[in-house]
Symmetry: C2
Subunit: 249 residues, 2 copies
């Protein structure tokens, strides 16, 4: 069945199953060799690349929809998705299905809710769904070379900015580290996400000032250098601080 016929086949079914006008798109970031990459799908129709996105069932919480869609379209589950923005400009999505009649359910106006996640690419195998040719990790540095559909480039950029902003005050990315980590491992993670080298002294001072790290009574053994202290992340302290007003100001 060619790619256009597939959409015609599911159009009526989609109308019964999903809320109109609402979609979700997920920006899943992964790490590899100190570089950030993002999970993308190449659709068979038009051959453009897209974020793994889809629709919201009529009785489904929107957060659950984002999770389900990511699993169905990319095989990624067990991931903490955080909503970061709504993309609701008129005409942002309608143009994508230009080869179809207006009666195609998918061709209506969609306001999409963006979610992002940090995911360890080693965690599981990706799948390719029936509408797609590929589902792959693409380095952020390679994005300028590929054709992204609709406003998906803008969605990725907003997700990256949000991630960088939240990194400065939120427990983000710790799931990519072992439970116990050294400050130098944490610095490497921050440098990769922020896309910049950090001054070691400033970083150590600021990350400690956040007050969300617990220094453990253990060191990392086995290296050539002095064994560095191990830390873990104290989520309770963070949550409490936020609720009570951020007293570390």
């Amino acid at each position: 069945m060619d790619s256009q016929q597939k959409f015609l086949r599911v159009s009526e079914e989609a109308k019964d199953m999903f809320l109109p006008h609402l979609s979700t798109d997920s920006v899943v970031f992964g790490f590899d060799q100190s570089e950030l990459k993002v999970l993308l799908i190449q659709m068979t129709y038009l051959k453009q690349w897209l974020l793994p996105g889809g629709y919201v069932k009529k009785d489904e919480d929107i957060d659950d929809a984002a999770k389900r869609v990511l699993k169905e379209r990319a095989g990624v589950s067990d991931v903490y998705l955080e909503e970061f923005g709504v993309f609701g400009k008129n005409k942002r999505s309608e143009v994508y299905f230009k080869d179809f009649e207006d009666s195609l359910w998918h061709k209506q106006r969609f306001v999409t809710v963006g979610y992002y996640a940090l995911y360890n690419p080693d965690n599981g195998k990706l799948i390719v769904d029936e509408f797609s040719d590929k589902c792959e990790w693409v380095y952020l540095s390679q994005l300028p070379e590929i054709e992204l559909a609709m406003d998906h480039r803008e969605i990725i950029e907003k997700a990256l900015l949000t991630l960088r902003e939240r990194l400065t005050y939120k427990p983000i990315g710790y799931n990519l580290l072992p439970e116990k980590f050294t400050l130098s491992e944490l610095q490497k993670l921050y440098e990769t996400i922020l896309g910049t080298k950090l001054n070691r002294g400033n970083f150590y001072r600021r990350i400690k000032n956040l007050g969300i790290l617990k220094k453990l009574d253990e060191q990392r053994r086995g290296g050539a250098h002095k064994s560095p202290d191990l830390y873990s992340f104290d989520e309770q302290v963070y949550k409490k601080a936020l609720e009570n007003g951020l007293s570390n100001w």
Copy 2:
């Protein structure tokens, strides 16, 4: 016309004019006597309090819808609204119109997009629209005493948390200060939003470390004490830093 008849009258018109299933709600924070307050509407129907919210026209950008709704329902314009969250649980809104037939347009499932703003209550006069009895500023400290509709209490709480988080890294709230301000005026603003007293030395050091303030070659004259230095906010520096990676880490 009683309050129920009003909804019946506009139900058909709403169906033609607006996207189904999508609404916006705005949490507008104001300052008064060092306390935070929020702009609320008391609807005639049910007499519960709600955020100024409404629907999205079929060809309207969603950000524009939020602005229009706030103007139509509360008379507030010239305000910078920032999206902060999507509230999309199934059944969150359907229960509100329980006295009506399911055919009422307003009774369908709505996913709402939350916006917040900081607004100077002295800026303009509030209006009361045809569906409401009141439109007023309510102190956050008074919220436990009033009946808020649907999940609007949760929406306000999420807005406040977001505001507090963003305050730590973003140029927020500066529109509530004069263009030139002293660090002690800025500290007062932060204390009000964070709901906590701040250590003066720590605050000065951290706010300067953010690198988004410009020290002016002027002092505030006229007080009993030593004339304090004036500052202004440098938005360019902030934007550049964010795009290049937050090098102040």
